[in-house]
């Protein structure tokens, strides 16, 4: 290979070569880190909520004033919703996955101890919960109607009853490597009464799973058996496949038919809830992706223009080489090898820079460590783009007429 003459030619053109190498280094560092953030966002956005998302919609009901018979009204609403054609089941809840806000509670393994799991999302459900939410029960059983108690918000903490259903993630957090079914936990520091884990669901995300709040997990949740009653209540309705939009309208009409002294808010399909909650994440991923593509393009333009400039300045030398017997392929190879050397130097600096930048970013912002695979992918992509960018100038160089050499002597 003709590496030595290329290197000595580069040493006469340090400025330009350094510029290209620096651009490539920065590009690799930024694209690598962007890909890492994008992958993190996509992973988070793709997590299942545990619900039958395609067939669920939710609405928030607020009574005007403080009616005394909230519990009876809620049960009447639920009966009306469950009787609607196309409805599989309906549930009154305090909150639901990805709602953005909700209630959380500490769980202890012994009375009076420090919590073994804190900020566990609390979902108030009744005997219909399993069917209405579409969660997958992997052990134990759901609540029976006779196990479901009455509930008022003001009673919070008095007692949480004797049975609880937890997510697999919470079960593992409380009893690592053991079977959590049938084990006792304590939900109130002052009480000696245990609450028994009578069921485990595969997954149910927390209300704030999309919010990325430090200290609040995405998958530790528990279900408690109450007939939820409050001035504001979230109704979650599961429909038969394909009837979501139809029921979304008939359900509102049915509730207003029972009483118009109410406000129905946040009426949306679960797909809309998901899309709304992850909008900032999606925006960030799209923006970073767009910037990465733009950046690679800008770098490619820089390579094209600088290489073109070199071709113009070296016409004479190229002509001489051609006159002395170099083939077009030799000229092409010369420019590609030169570019490879510059890009290679840039890539080495860029990879080191990317890792350094990532380590710094990880300490300052809430992003994960970058994988080795991603940095390799971005390095290979940038290298290919760089080689592609130099192709056009190299072709122009290869088409220099050998007679040029004779003309300028």
């Amino acid at each position: 290979m003709e590496i030595i003459p290329i290197v000595s030619a580069l040493r006469r053109n340090k400025g330009g070569a350094l510029l290209i190498a620096a651009q490539i280094a920065l590009t690799v560092a930024i694209v690598g880190n962007s890909l890492s953030v994008i992958r993190q966002q996509l992973t988070q956005m793709g997590r299942p909520s545990g619900l039958d998302e395609d067939n669920i919609f939710t609405m928030t009901n607020r009574w005007v004033g403080h009616p005394a018979d909230v519990a009876a009204r809620t049960q009447a609403d639920l009966a009306a919703l469950r009787a609607l054609p196309g409805v599989v089941d309906a549930q009154a809840m305090n909150s639901y996955p990805l709602r953005g806000y909700g209630m959380n509670w500490n769980v202890m393994l012994k009375p009076g101890q420090q919590p073994s799991a804190s900020r566990v999302a609390v979902y108030i459900v009744d005997a219909h919960g399993l069917r209405a939410l579409g969660v997958k029960l992997i052990a134990g059983r759901w609540f029976r109607p006779d196990e479901v108690g009455g509930f008022r918000l003001s009673d919070i903490g008095k007692s949480w009853g004797s049975a609880v259903i937890v997510t697999q993630a919470l079960a593992q957090a409380l009893f690592p490597g053991e079977n959590a079914l049938g084990r006792a936990v304590y939900l109130t520091p002052s009480s000696k009464d245990p609450t028994v884990i009578q069921g485990i669901v595969r997954e149910a995300e927390t209300p704030y799973a999309a919010n990325n709040i430090k200290g609040y997990g995405s998958d530790e949740a528990m279900f408690l058996p109450y007939r939820f009653a409050s001035d504001t209540v979230a109704y979650l309705v599961r429909t038969q496949p394909g009837r979501l939009n139809e029921v979304l309208h008939s359900a509102q009409a049915a509730l207003f038919g029972l009483s118009s002294e109410r406000i129905l808010d946040e009426v949306q399909t679960f797909a809309e809830t998901r899309s709304e909650m992850y909008r900032p994440d999606r925006g960030l991923a799209l923006t970073l992706g767009g910037l990465s593509i733009l950046l690679t393009g800008v770098t490619a333009c820089g390579i094209v223009s600088l290489a073109s400039n070199w071709v113009v300045r070296r016409r004479w030398q190229i002509g001489i080489r051609r006159a002395l017997g170099a083939r077009r392929a030799d000229i092409l190879r010369y420019f590609h090898t030169e570019n490879l050397l510059i890009a290679g130097a840039g890539l080495v600096v860029g990879i080191v820079g990317a890792v350094g930048l990532n380590l710094w970013v990880v300490t300052r912002l809430e992003v994960e460590r970058m994988g080795v695979g991603l940095i390799c992918v971005s390095a290979i992509v940038v290298l290919l783009v760089s080689q592609l960018a130099v192709l056009w100038p190299a072709l122009r160089a290869a088409s220099v007429d050998p007679a040029v050499a004779a003309r300028n002597i």
């Binding site: 005007v64 799209l286 800008v298 770098t299 223009s305 073109s308 400039n309």
Partner: protein, 440 residues
């Protein structure tokens, strides 16, 4: 001479159109991308009440103690609770140690519109004191705040936001009329003009109802009605039972702001606050050397790190992006100036010194910088428009570029381009005159 140089620069830029377009585009794209995120960053970290920022303070009290470190979830440096207990808010209100002080919390009420054809709506509401409007310089369209007597008597009075007044009363002067809130009659004492500080510095955590608050009512009234908080409520321990539980517990859910006119007043309030906390410890409420803090608006915003980590990532990426674009421009200018070496040689041979050549090239770079800046401002507008679509609902969507953003874009463009032009210009002014003349 400058006019002549500008003339020369324009001629030279026209002469090699492709290179000029490439240069201007490279700089414009870099400026556009970085300024889009920079103006979002500026909007998010801007001070919403600049004039009084250093006179408005919010106190914090260490009522969690050493056990609070895990309980305070937001990324603060000193693990103090972000809000106050009802007990502390009321005590500090009663002490009346500042010129103005207002306790407050966020709630939501159901409003029955006066027009029976309209359905009830729920409205984000702030429960606070009459001094709120004076302290925060809230402008009134009609009427005035309620009186201090209304605060004392927990009177059913409200102030509406203009937008809600438009929807309910068609924009008419509604002062003196009544409105049904949660099935009770409230008298309207005033209507404020459009006022929605971004970020909402006085309560950064009022939950999902991030939109403007459209009803203001006395804190005392809201508490008397037991209106629940729609903001953040944090409890270290199980608060117990009953409807009044939040009033007596160590849960934090209220905010308090005080106005202190000068440094002496700030010092006095700090020592009063320290004394109050010590007193609470003495009477047995705190079993630890409890701390307290007093922060003004800009300190409070910084302490709460309200600039989201997404925007910080984007700012970092787009500044690096600008750097790449500038490196690119360096290469292009190098090519351009070197291509003009023969002209430079002629000028040198005719008696121009290196400084003159240097100056001429810099002027040309400056013209490129201005053009790039104009392209950049255009791309920034486009970028903000796109960002508003991608992030709709978030604070990003509310970012509007102001004159400051445009000025920064142009200054950044010209400054960065001149910096980038240094090396090519230096090379151009060190061309050996004789060498090129010989070729010609």
């Amino acid at each position: 001479m400058l006019g002549y140089y500008i003339n020369l620069a324009l001629r030279s830029l026209r002469q090699n159109g492709v290179l000029t377009v490439l240069m201007v585009t490279a700089i414009g794209v870099g400026i556009g991308a970085s300024m889009t995120t920079l103006s979002i960053f500026r909007a998010m970290s801007s001070n919403p009440i600049r004039d009084k920022s250093s006179r408005l303070f919010t106190p914090q009290i260490d009522n969690y103690g050493p056990g609070g470190e895990g309980a305070v979830t937001e990324p603060t440096s000193d693990h103090l609770p972000m809000e106050l207990t009802y007990t502390d808010s009321v005590a500090l209100m009663r002490a009346h140690r500042a010129r103005h002080q207002v306790a407050m919390y966020a709630t939501v009420v159901a409003v029955t519109p006066p027009d029976p054809r309209q359905l009830p709506i729920q409205v984000p509401t702030r429960a606070t004191y009459a001094d709120f409007f004076t302290m925060f310089d809230v402008p009134f369209e009609y009427g005035a705040p309620w009186s201090a007597l209304d605060d004392d008597g927990a009177a059913p009075v409200i102030v509406l936001a203009r937008d809600l007044n438009d929807r309910l009363f068609g924009g008419a002067n509604s002062v003196g009329r009544t409105l049904r809130l949660n099935d009770q009659e409230y008298r309207i004492t005033g209507v404020i003009e459009d006022w929605n500080p971004m970020p909402r510095f006085y309560d950064l955590y009022s939950g999902k109802f991030g939109g403007p608050e459209e009803i203001f009512m006395p804190f005392t009234r809201a508490v008397a009605q037991r209106l629940p908080s729609a903001g953040m409520t944090q409890c270290l321990k199980n608060p117990g039972t009953g409807p009044d539980v939040l009033l007596h517990s160590e849960c934090v859910w209220t905010q308090l702001w005080v106005e202190l006119p000068n440094d002496a007043a700030v010092r006095a309030y700090r020592s009063y606050l320290a004394g109050y906390v010590a007193e609470q410890r003495r009477v047995g409420r705190f079993g630890w050397p409890a701390r307290s803090a007093l922060r003004d608006v800009s300190q409070w915003l910084g302490y709460n790190r309200i600039v989201s980590s997404e925007v910080s990532v984007l700012l970092l990426v787009s500044l690096a992006f600008l750097l790449v674009c500038l490196l690119n421009a360096v290469g292009l200018m190098l090519a351009k100036f070197m291509a003009r070496a023969p002209h430079v040689c002629t000028r040198r041979a005719l008696g121009a010194d290196r400084r003159a050549v240097f100056g001429q090239c810099l002027v040309e770079a400056g013209v490129v910088g201005i053009l790039g800046g104009l392209v950049g401002v255009g791309l920034m507008m486009l970028g903000l428009h796109v960002a508003a679509g991608l992030f709709s609902g978030a604070a990003v969507a509310l970012t509007r570029p102001d004159g400051g953003d445009v000025a920064i874009a142009l200054a950044l463009s010209v400054g960065a381009t001149l910096l980038a032009a240094m090396y090519p210009t230096w090379r151009a002014s060190h061309v050996q005159p004789a060498w090129h003349l010989k070729v010609q």
